[in-house]
């Protein structure tokens, strides 16, 4: 390890961390011993899939990640990963490359069976290290815990330490948690000092933010170890909905639109143009989006789609047909910036158009059966 030149205190703290972690791994026989390592891809922001689930689980195990383990590499995961890279002396790039992954694998445990099972059940769960997994799944029936995670994290670190210390020897498991926490607490206290040495790349403010970020996970993990872990669950999932876990439990969605908006537009696109080529469907979706932007039309998805007389599919009820995946894909393309129409806000089918007025609009181009106009 390239620790030469680092502050001695930091070095000590680090050794303690590593030491106690090693002890933790040796001493706790958790079920699901098998080490599940990542596939060899570099995981980057925006990715989805099993590797992301593993990444999140491992980061949560170490207390860096407090969000929901949902398999979507979002911002929370990104910052957790960067904090991990910072704490473990890796280059801070927010990418989970080989080095980072190896470090993660050696520093944490990932119980794939447990995680996958919980995801498939659609239950809320967490994957913190040093806590009995059975306590981290299905939330207890009691709903009375009102303490918010932010409140918790403002607790003094000393306070928490005492909490842990009070209940030392339930089993070996608990003790080692205690060990680990104390160690990382010590580590965190030293952070400002290390800053001088390593922190040339980061801006001034990161001193404070570093401490903040390391405090929160530790405290939360502490709480879960001592109090019941209901608080923990709420903290991790924001009281999210139950989800069926056949596939991923969460998905990337473009800025400014929800999945339901996309569904609604897809309904309209499918109803209007299911006989058209793919590009024609993207075009219809683009017209809807252009109308939302235009001053001459309502400013919302539903406003534009349900404007009386605007779309025949709405008038004759074809909008309520179930759209296929193609239509949804077309909508996503349109939202992400593909506009095959050249900023059109009208279109019509020359064979069936009933209004003479529509022919007076300046025409831009024809895609499939539709003519697109200004």
């Amino acid at each position: 390890m390239g620790v030469i030149g680092m502050n001695i205190k930091f070095l000590l703290a680090k050794i303690t961390v590593i030491f106690s972690l090693t002890i933790a791994f040796i001493s706790i026989p958790l079920y699901g011993e098998k080490v599940n390592a990542f596939s060899n891809q570099i995981i980057q922001h925006g990715a989805i899939g099993d590797d992301v689930i593993e990444l999140q689980s491992r980061l949560q195990y170490l207390g860096f990640y407090n969000g929901k383990i949902d398999g979507v590499f979002g911002w929370q995961t990104y910052w957790a990963l960067r904090n991990f890279q910072y704490e473990f002396g890796l280059p801070i790039d927010g990418l989970a490359g080989t080095k980072t992954k190896n470090k993660l694998v050696s520093a944490s445990k990932y119980n794939e069976k447990f995680v996958k099972e919980q995801i498939n059940r659609g239950k809320k769960f967490t994957h913190y290290g040093g806590v009995d997994l059975n306590k981290q799944k299905t939330p207890s029936a009691k709903k009375g815990t009102t303490q918010t995670p932010t409140k918790k994290s403002t607790n003094k670190p000393g306070n928490n330490k005492q909490n842990v210390a009070k209940k030392p020897s339930n089993n070996g498991n608990k003790t080692s948690t205690n060990n680990k926490k104390t160690a990382s607490n010590g580590n965190q206290a030293k952070t400002p000092a290390t800053k001088k040495q390593t922190g040339t790349k980061n801006n001034t403010g990161s001193t404070t933010n570093k401490t903040n970020n390391t405090t929160t996970p530790n405290n939360k993990a502490n709480n879960s170890a001592t109090t019941n872990n209901k608080t923990n669950n709420t903290a991790a999932t924001n009281g999210g909905e139950k989800t069926t876990g056949k596939k991923a439990t969460a998905a990337n969605v473009p800025n400014g639109f929800s999945q339901n908006d996309i569904q609604l537009i897809a309904n309209a696109v499918y109803g209007e143009s299911r006989g058209e080529p793919y590009i024609g469907q993207v075009a219809v979706a683009s017209v809807i989006l252009n109308r939302i932007d235009s001053v001459s039309f309502p400013n919302t998805v539903s406003g534009v789609i349900f404007e009386p007389g605007a779309f025949t599919a709405v008038a004759d009820g074809q909008i309520w047909l179930t759209p296929n995946e193609r239509a949804k894909e077309a909508v996503l393309d349109a939202i992400n910036g593909w506009d095959p129409t050249g900023n059109a806000i009208y279109y019509f089918n020359p064979d069936t158009a009933t209004s003479a007025w529509i022919w007076s609009r300046p025409q831009i181009k024809q895609i499939g059966k539709h003519i697109f106009c200004k």
Binding site: G74, W79, V282, P340, K365
Partner: protein
């Protein structure tokens, strides 16, 4: 005997059918009435809002202090948006009523911009006051016409359902309501251009037509060549090139290429001037994911390099199922230029580029002189909400609320579980924009 039974059955049948028919008729009428009432509500609400609008503009004219002027203008803004939404509920899409909507939107923009301005340091100029006065008389005209239509509607019991029928069947449009609204529209059209000078057009989406592009006009043949090169298809191809219609603001060729063997189709628009690709989409089914998002982003970067796009930096990557979508922006000397953005779609099964969108880039990209920031990063940082933990920073050029390019410090910070991009103007320290970045959305239960 049998005859008697038959007659009885038939009578019952006829009576039953009549009863059923009557029920249906009643239901249909109830539904029609319901729809009609919705239209009526929207219309009467619209006239009411225009009444309010007129009054409110009138009162602002007599005001002088910021304390009263700002809220009053904000109120104008609110009323216009209400009226705008009422218009959106009327069955007028097939009729040229959009000038009126634009008019409302323009009043809204004007009042909003003036309302949020610090009127103590920059009071209403004479020009603006004149504009406000002009708006007042124009609103009065519209109010008059609308009231007239409203009166006719009420007196003659006119129904919007008839308007819809008339519009749909295109029966000479001799409907009283249509005529009345047409008058409104013509009135608005009359003073449309005059009332909003050059200063006020910028809230409307700018219709720049690729004016920064360099190069000569290309021929159809050249367009075909470029498109083939972008699509990267092999084998025998079906190619169709069409020119843009007359209504377009700029000249372009649309090229459709079909690979005969696989049936995969690529579509692409190319500017006539210079032959730049505006967008392209290759429509094919993307199979199971084989390569990572990271690898795909490298493919995208390679593609950009091969096609001589310079100074672009990856700024966002997102995976949707088996497709990676990447957003690139120009980066010059560490300054990200957000208006210059290119989006790319990469198939995660074989790493091929299946989509390319450069419209924004082609419209915005130009030689820029990036000035040095006036205030220091530390000073800019002080302007940020104390609750936000700053994680990263940089310099960026963004389009602000007034659609102007401004140089800003960009701070990325977190607050609880959310991540924000905060832009502080590097010249005067104004907080230009705060953007909450999207978190992943939970998938709500699907019907099994």
């Amino acid at each position: 005997m049998i005859r008697g039974i038959l007659i009885a059955i038939l009578t019952l049948g006829v009576a039953g059918a009549a009863f059923w028919g009557y029920q249906e008729h009643k239901e249909k009428n109830a539904i029609l009435l319901n729809a009609e009432n919705n239209y009526q509500r929207a219309f009467h609400d619209l006239t009411y809002q225009v009444d309010l609008l007129h009054d409110q503009i009138g009162t602002t004219l007599a005001m002088s202090s910021q304390e009263s002027l700002s809220p009053a203008l904000a109120e104008v803004w609110r009323i216009t948006s209400q009226a705008h939404s009422d218009v959106g509920q009327l069955p007028l899409t097939l009729m040229p009523f959009n000038k009126t909507e634009e008019f409302l939107a323009n009043i809204g923009d004007f009042s909003y911009k003036t309302a949020v301005r610090d009127l103590n340091s920059k009071p209403l100029s004479d020009d603006e006051y004149k504009k406000l006065k002009g708006l007042y008389t124009e609103a009065e005209d519209i109010q008059d016409e609308l009231r007239n239509v409203q009166h006719l509607v009420l007196e003659n019991n006119l129904r919007w359902m008839d308007v819809e029928m008339a519009l749909a069947t295109d029966k000479q449009m001799d409907n009283t309501i249509i005529d009345g609204l047409k008058t409104v529209e013509e009135k608005v059209e009359g003073y449309q251009e005059t009332s909003f000078g050059v200063t006020n057009v910028n809230m409307e989406k700018k219709e720049e037509s690729f004016s920064n592009l360099k190069g000569n006009n290309i021929s159809k043949k050249e367009a075909e060549k470029i498109a083939k090169e972008y699509a990267g298809f092999k084998g025998s191809l079906d190619v169709k090139v069409t020119e843009n219609g007359k209504g377009s603001d700029y000249g372009f060729y649309s090229v459709a290429i079909k690979e005969k063997k696989s049936g995969t189709e690529a579509n692409m628009d190319i500017t006539k001037k210079g032959g730049f690709p505006i967008w392209s989409i290759i429509s094919r089914e993307v199979k199971e994911q084989k390569i990572s998002l990271n690898k795909a982003s490298n493919e995208a970067v390679k593609f950009l390099k091969e096609h001589k796009f310079k100074n672009l930096a990856l700024f966002e990557s997102t995976q949707y199922e088996n497709i990676g979508v990447f957003n690139f922006v120009t980066e010059v000397d560490g300054v990200k230029i957000y208006p210059d953005s290119i989006k790319m779609k990469v198939a995660l099964d074989d790493g091929h580029i299946i989509g390319f969108a450069a419209e924004e880039y082609l419209k915005a990209n130009k030689e820029r002189k990036i000035s040095n920031p006036v205030i220091s990063k530390e000073d800019a940082r002080k302007k940020i909400n104390k609750q936000v933990t700053v994680m990263d920073d940089g310099l960026a050029i963004i389009l602000n609320d007034l659609n102007k390019e401004v140089l800003c410090y960009e701070f990325i910070g977190t607050l609880d579980n959310d991540t924000y991009r905060i832009y502080i103007n590097a010249e005067n320290g104004i907080e230009e924009k705060v953007e909450k970045l999207k978190n992943a959305e939970p998938v709500y239960e699907e019907v099994v």
